[in-house]
Structure formats: structure tokens, C-alpha cells
């Protein structure tokens, strides 16, 4: 099995194999398991932080770097990746996260992966090394290839180097768990909270009717805002004073354990009733109902497809992406960057 630890080795592998599937930590097997005729390219060794200037809010690392390693370095300076990459505890890498296009529950506060990726260096399907974006937090020069790589499942190139914007982590956090009488009441509360300037770190809906709300900031302010929030909401409330471990479990998608199929499903609060009517397993809506992570079996996946709802399978299916990207645009970009079709799309 080819393995690349340096840029030159990535280039060499790309030139050597006609069908290549990059693999980082292997935490999303539906995306990293080679299909017939494909050769896996192990990138776990392409690892390490290249540049980190806490004062710039910018970090650059090789694509195979584990999220855990990046977060440890950031934490030493009170900073974090605000898009909250999932599956950190399971060994997810930066590259795999970008290729899959995944963000975790804390994306609610400042935005997702697409909002924090600043630059990329990748090897395209012809073995050419291409850079896009930059290493500064604001930049409008040239075609933004870095944004193109978000969610592209490695279909346009092998990610080698990635630059991210990072932020200070709030000095303290608390979580409020609210159990409402039913889905309708929970959705009503969710809709209300989405319109208020509360600067919540996370706003999750755990079906059927529980909201989990994380607050961050200076201790005095968090206390006062927690009280305001409690006064605002009906239902049975519980405060998690120590909440870090809980959210780490959520971002590792531990609630999906035991489900044969794991999927990410873009959503909206308005779409939740439709999704709730499908035969899905354990699940959680993140970011005020903007995205659902759900466990399911074959029947659930079929129901999703039949309903025409876009989704990405992370584990448990051969054909992970639905629907395919719009042909008239994507096929042209693919032709430009990977004309011989070396990299599969999911």
C-alpha cells in the first residue's frame, strides 16, 4: 500500500497509480475504503504543524495531522478551531475533515469549516502542486481553490497542506439542557432562539424534544446569560456546570455508536418535521437545526434517497454522496484538475 510522508511522495504516488483514494485517520470508512481497482494512499504520515502564530490567529499544518495534535497546540495558547471538527477523539485528521466537509456542534457560534479554511496546497490529478488562498485571515486574490476542496471528498486533488483561521476559546462555558413536552414545542423554542443575539456556542436539538445550549464567555456574563436563557424557556431544565466532556462526546459522534450507517444531512428547522418522519436511528441536529448527524440502517438510507434529501454517508455504504454535484459546473472543474479521473468522488 503506498504511503506518503512528504509532498514529493504524494506527487510520485499520484503519477504512479491510475485510481487513487487518499486516506487519513480512516474515521469515515465510507469515504476512505478503496473500491475495486483503487489503490489507497495512506497520508497519516504526512503530519505535523508547520506554522502557528497565536497572535495571527492562523495555523498551517500538513493534511495528515491529527485534529487532536492541532487542538493541543492551540489549547496551550487558549485558542481552538471554531468549526469544531468532529471525530477528533477517534483520530480524525485535518485533511479528512476538509475532504469530507465536516463541522461539529460549536460551529453555531462563528461558522463552519468553510468559514475557517484560509488556504490549501494540493496535488492535482496530473501530479501538479497547486496553492490556493493564503495564510492571512483576509484575502481575495486568485481563484479560491481552498474553498473548492471543502467537501470535495478528495475528488479534485490530494490535500497536502492546510491553513486555518483560529480563535480564542471563551474563558468559561456552561450548558443548559431543556426538556420540552414534544417536538413541536422544541422546534418553537429553537426557532425563537435562532433569532436572538445570544452568541450561543452550540444549539443542538436531540429528538424528540431536548435542546442542549452551550454558553461561553467571562464567568460573570455566562452566569447572567444563563439566567436570562432559563427565564426565556419553558420546560424542565438542567445546568451542566462542567460540560467539556459532554461536548467532546458529541463531537466524536458517540451517539451514533451501534448504528450500521452514519450520515450527515444538511437541514433547516423547517425541514425537521419531514426528517423526523423518516425511519432514522439515533440522531442530533446541530447548529440550530442546520445539520443532522444520524445513525440508521439500510431502510433509513433508502428513505433519505427516496425523499431526495441531500446527505453524505460517513460509514456503512458504498455510494456515500447524494446528490452528485451539478454536472455542468463540477465536470468542468474536474476536467481542469483531474482530467484522467484519478480521484473518485466518494
Amino acid at each position: 500500500m503506498p504511503e506518503a510522508r512528504r509532498l514529493a511522495e504524494v506527487v510520485e504516488a499520484v503519477r504512479a497509480y491510475p485510481r487513487l483514494r487518499p486516506k487519513g485517520g480512516g474515521t469515515k470508512p465510507a469515504l476512505s475504503t478503496p473500491r475495486e481497482g483503487e489503490v489507497p494512499l495512506e497520508l497519516g504520515g504526512l503530519s505535523g504543524i508547520l506554522e502557528y502564530h497565536p497572535e495571527e490567529f492562523v495555523l498551517t499544518a500538513l493534511a495528515g495531522t491529527p485534529i487532536a495534535e492541532v487542538e493541543e497546540a492551540l489549547k496551550a495558547h487558549g485558542q481552538y478551531l471554531p468549526f469544531h471538527p468532529p471525530l477528533k477523539g477517534r483520530g480524525a485528521t485535518l485533511g479528512g475533515t476538509v475532504a469530507a466537509g465536516l463541522s461539529g456542534p460549536l460551529r453555531h457560534r462563528y461558522g463552519g469549516l468553510r468559514d475557517f479554511l484560509l488556504g490549501v496546497r494540493f496535488v492535482d490529478g496530473e501530479g501538479r502542486v497547486v496553492r490556493g488562498g493564503g495564510k492571512v485571515v483576509k484575502n481575495a486574490a486568485g481563484f479560491p481553490f481552498h474553498r473548492l476542496m471543502v467537501g470535495a471528498l478528495g475528488s479534485l486533488g490530494v490535500l497536502v497542506e492546510l491553513s486555518f483561521k483560529v480563535f480564542p476559546f471563551p474563558p468559561s462555558t456552561k450548558t443548559l439542557r431543556v426538556r420540552l413536552p414534544g417536538l413541536e414545542a422544541a422546534l418553537e423554542a429553537l426557532r425563537r432562539l435562532r433569532l436572538l443575539p445570544l452568541d450561543l456556542l452550540a444549539l443542538d436539538l436531540v429528538p424528540p424534544a431536548t435542546l442542549e445550549i452551550r454558553l461561553g464567555g467571562f464567568p460573570q456574563s455566562v452566569k447572567a446569560r444563563l439566567e436570562r436563557l432559563q427565564a426565556l424557556l419553558e420546560g424542565e431544565k438542567e445546568v451542566l456546570e462542567e460540560d467539556e466532556a459532554h461536548w467532546e462526546a458529541v463531537r466524536d459522534l458517540r451517539f451514533l455508536e451501534g448504528s450500521p450507517i452514519w450520515a450527515k444531512i444538511p437541514a433547516k428547522p423547517q425541514r425537521i418535521p419531514q426528517l423526523e418522519a423518516l425511519p432514522l436511528g439515533p440522531r442530533r441536529y446541530l447548529d440550530g437545526g442546520e445539520v443532522l448527524f444520524a445513525g440508521m440502517d439500510g431502510e433509513g438510507l433508502l428513505a433519505l434517497r427516496q425523499a431526495g434529501l441531500p446527505h453524505l454517508v460517513l460509514k456503512g455504504a458504498q455510494d456515500p454522496l447524494f446528490p452528485p454535484p451539478p454536472e455542468a459546473f463540477f465536470a468542468k472543474v474536474k476536467e481542469a484538475l483531474d482530467p484522467s479521473g484519478r480521484f473518485p468522488l466518494g
Binding site: P54, E55, E56, F57, V58, S103, R107, Y110, G111, G112, R114, D115, R128, R131, G132, G134, K135, V136, V137, K138, A140, A141, G142, F143, P144, F145, L148, M149, A152, L153, L156, P168, R191, R194, L195, L196, P197, D199, G217, F218, Q220, S221, R225, P266, K268, P269, Q270, D287, E290, P310, L312, L321, P325, A328, F329, F330, K332, V333, E335, A336
Partner: protein
Amino acid sequence: MGFLEELKALLPGRVLTREAELAPYESDALTAYRKRPLAVVLPERKEEVIGVVRLCHRYGVPFVARGSGTSLSGGSLPVEGGIVLALNRMNRILRLDPEARIAVVEPGVVNLEVSRQAAPFGLYYAPDPSSQPVSTLGGNVAFNSGGAHCLKYGMTANHVLGLEVVTPTGEVVRLGGESLEGVGPDLHGFFVGTEGLLGVAVEITLRLLPKPEAYHTVLAAYESLEKAGEAVSLIIRKGLLPGAMEIMDRLSIEAAEKAVKAGYPLVEGLLIVELEGPKEEVAEEAKVLEAILEESGALTIRVARSEAERQAIWKGRKAAFSAVGRLSPDYLVQDGVVPRSRLGEALREIQRLSREYGLRVANVFHAGDGNLHPLVLYDGKRPGELEKAEALAGEILKLCVRLGGSLTGEHGIGVEKKGYMPEMFAPEDLEAMERVKRALDPKGLANRGKVLPEVAHA
């Protein structure tokens, strides 16, 4: 029928070809460049844009889409023999859905109008380029416009959730959707910032945010620009994340004072810091900020106690460009980016270049994200002075790249900076851009002559 006849049949009465009608479209906010288009068309519906693009493709006629023409990089400069698609009449907000927190708009909608329409729901559209009272979202999308709040909130790309695009060959595609999360490649994110080279956006889905509950706006005066810059570093080091941090130098302050009488102290460096968020959090952050500004050696500190006082502080900053314009018959604006910690170094070097070239340079910049806005003052009537100003501006761009930054933070490459692209990008990077352009636009019709330097063609 020839091209023009077909065009006129497609948009009866809305094809301009007379010299006097074309004149306003010959240039944009980069007034040093002018080109006469063959015709200007005024579509009112997306079907008409699609029709025009298909016609252009069939005849091989280049086209440039244009909104209000506020591009500072010549992004909407016409192509000779080509047409201008003036999209200002497509100015409808098609849907504003507070529950979904989105607005679906036509490309000719003015940026500020979205926030205005969203205000009754407590929502707003975050990107706020200084041009926002006039610039359109189609242009904002093409150039990935920024503003004063990019460090915290990102740029236009981060606020566009979906697009309907006419590709240069006349195909219509929907990229992205309505959710903050998608699956598959972020094609809408990629389209934003490609400066119209890959097609025309005919419908744009924007994300809206809840308007912050409280603001805390402070004006701090310093004896030098370096001191003002150091204060910004201190703020960042203490873990604060202000919504905006802006710095102005003496020349800009004087100009702003003359123009709008904002009541600014006449010092070497002025720093505006704005905190925003829930009132309890802002109150806590304000205490930290106060201590930092004391420590930073500010000569005076003024805190806005009311919305009127806040607006007064911002008034001078927002008027700075046009105010500096009064100091000089002509000026060039650059918008290079440097890593924040290199700001002091960049400013010293700009001052040195200013002396060397014998041209005044006023500095106004977004300090939070390292986005400089040096205004190079010159008199176009003096022979050779424009060329000298351009050379000086070019030196500043190279400096930004050398310090690890970017050629442009928000104005885009356009025609103005394309010659400097090889400073920032390797030939392989530029070739990749070329290949994408060629694949989507084999005839090279969409905004021809922008962004990509001629060397990459070779």
C-alpha cells in the same frame, strides 16, 4: 440578423449603443482605466441574462457583468468590442425568510438594502464593504467583498449559501442551497471571488445573522502608528475578539476632520475598537479593553456613550476615502494584506517608499485582519505622475506579499493587480486557474482580461 440585431430583439429598448449612453459604463471606480464597449444591455429578469450570455457565446462576443461600478480594481471595466450586462434593474429581494435566516436576492440588489429589509426581524447581512450603500450583491459575490468585520465574521464567501449561475457557455446551474452545511464540493464558495470569470450569478442566497444586542465603541489616540498597532496586538493577546479594529494615520484624520468634522484628535495614530455581543459579555470585555488601552499608552480614550456618539466615531472612518480624495486631485487605493504582527514594519516601509517617490500616502486600515488601505495621492495632470503612483502602489503590493500577506484583502485583482499575480502565485497555481477558466469558458468571454496575467497564457 447580426449580433446587435439579435440582442435588440431579445431586450427591446434596453440595448444602449449611442456614445453618450455608453459613456457612464466606460469605467468603474478605478477611473484611470476606460474602455468603450460595443453595447450595454439592461436585463430585468434572469431569463434575459441567460439569453444574452447564450447569444454572446454563439457569436463569441465577450461580456462583463456590472452592478453599480464601484470596483476599485477595474473589475467591471468593459472589453472593447464586448458588451456590458448592467444588472442594476435586477434589484428584487425575492424572498426574505427570517425563520430560515436567509435572503434570496437578485444580483442588482444593493448590499445595505438587505440589512434594511431584515432589520424588522432583528437580523442583518454581515459583510459591510464601505461601498455598501451603493454596491450590489452581484459585485460583492464576484469580488468576495469584505468590510470592517472580517476577522470575526469572514467575507462575502462565508455569507453566501447558494447561487444560481449562468456559466459562460450559457448553462444554468444551482450551486449550494439554503443550509449552512452542504454535502459535496463547496462550488458556491469557490465561485465567490472568481471576479466574474466563471459566469454570472443571477440569484444569490445569503445567510442573515441576529443583530448584536450591544456595542461598545472606543476611540483611542496615539503618538505614533506603531503604538496604535501595538495596542491591537495587546487586544488579541488578551483573548478579545472585537467586531472591528480600525486605524487611521494623521493625513487621513486631517482629511476626515475637514470633510465631516467627526471630532477626532489630531494625532499620529487613531484606533477605533468596537466590541459587540450580548450586553453582559460586552460589559465584561469592555473592562478588559479599558485596562489594555490604559496599558498601551493611549493619549486619550473616548468611549461612545450613545448610539449617536458611536455613529460619530464611525463617521470619520467611513468618510476617510472620499475625504482624502479632497486633499489631492487623484488617488489610488491599494488593499494589500499583511500578517497582523508585521503591520508596524509594513507601515514604516510604506512611509519610506512615500518619501522615496515624493508622493503622499494616507493610511487607513482594518487592523484586526491586517488589511491595509494605503491611498497614494497624485495629480494625473502632471505628466508621469500616474505612472509614478502606480509604481509606488506596486512596491506596496510586493511588500505585502514579501511579508507573507496577500495582494488584495477585498478589492480583488481586476485589471489593476493582475500583473502582480506572479508575485503571490507560482506558475503552477496560475496555470490551474487558467485551466479551470478554459474548461468553463473555452472562448474566454466572461470578464476577459481580468485576474489572470498574460504570462500564464503563454
